[in-house]
Point group: C2
Chain length 191, copies 2
DNA sequence: TATTGTTATACTCTATAACTATA
DNA sequence: TATAGTTATAGAGTATAACAATA
């Protein structure tokens, strides 16, 4: 996440009521919490010299071994060319492996190494601790309530079916118009 | 948000149970949904040639007029130097105004213009529509349940008190160590 | 000497296009 | 001709450092 500043702004300085300003909106809270969690998890992974991306890729790979980089690319919602460096990282550290696809010699099939699986288990535990840290304020039934509500919302937004938010329907790769109208930033002239 | 690929990865290809893989974790769902919402809202604002950042800044400004750029900077959790261009944007479009602070001639005091207030009202409506689009899957009581759970979680993480996730406690500006240990990416050598 | 706003610079992440080797 | 992987390059966003004016 390139946690951009103001999802929708920031609910600053509580006055009296608990639900003031922007934080009365679920959208804002989701952006705020999402950014926060991503950051915290990245900090937790930093000592291992890893990024949440690596965890994501390793998990996806473990659930679906033998995938091509192309397949990984659409599963994770990142571009083909970005996958290259990430897989390089994993491979150079002995966490994953590229094998030539005998059926299509252009493609690789990707596998998680035993070391990778060990690390993944460790990362899963880290993610669980992370999760516990996040949810301290809620009791057990509230936690599962929250998760189930989030799952339903995610599903309704088409997010659980393997299509990452980065990929809008119909955009699987190049050719398609990734070039949305850019925001024309007013540049400073003088002062 | 520089929506980075894999908050924690991606729950690909539902098999049978609804709560599979990474999407059983609240953290993952928050990152996924946060990214998604940020993106959708950015798309909604694009035709107006605006970015969620602008909305965030305008909201924050409207709630607290007369702020300095420095104050805005810590309220939004973005760096002083980044505030400059954003305020430029708003000012050049007649949405906000810089006035010299008579008490401290180094500083500006910032104000939202009448046009800015009008636009803000319009953006608030857009955010409401966005919210509705997000929560279609839930009924009214579920919606408020979700929001209140999210608020409690956000509060427990220290997010509602005006400290944006970007600012870790004690880091208000320069001088402080923004330089965390960078991830050493394994670079490709040959092939 | 410290702070506000500013600029210039570097670094990260992502997107685009072109290239290769296959198909 | 199209596709998998790769590379180089350009863009957006953010962080760092240095500077002028002011405190």
């Amino acid at each position: 996440m390139a946690p951009d500043t103001g999802g929708h702004g920031d609910p600053t300085r509580m006055r009296a009521a608990p639900a003031r300003g922007l934080s009365r909106r679920a959208s804002f809270l989701l952006v705020q919490l999402g950014t926060h969690r991503h950051r915290r998890f990245a900090e937790r992974l930093a000592p291992l010299d890893l990024h949440p991306r690596h965890f994501g890729m390793l998990s996806q790979l473990a659930e679906n071994e033998g995938q091509s980089q192309q397949a990984l690319s659409s599963a994770l919602g990142i571009h083909r060319s970005a996958v290259v460096a990430l897989v390089d990282d994993l491979e150079h550290r002995g966490l994953a492996e590229r094998r030539r696809d005998p059926a299509d010699r252009r493609a690789y099939t990707l596998y998680v190494s035993p070391v990778g699986r060990e690390l993944l288990a460790e990362l899963d535990r880290a993610a669980d601790e992370d999760e516990a840290e996040l949810l301290t304020a809620l009791d057990v039934s509230e936690r599962s309530k929250l998760i189930s509500l989030l799952q339903r919302v995610a599903e309704s937004q088409g997010l659980t079916a393997g299509v990452h938010p980065n990929l809008k329907p119909g955009e699987g790769d190049d050719h398609t118009t990734h070039g949305k109208p850019r925001h024309a930033r007013t540049r400073r002239t003088s002062r």
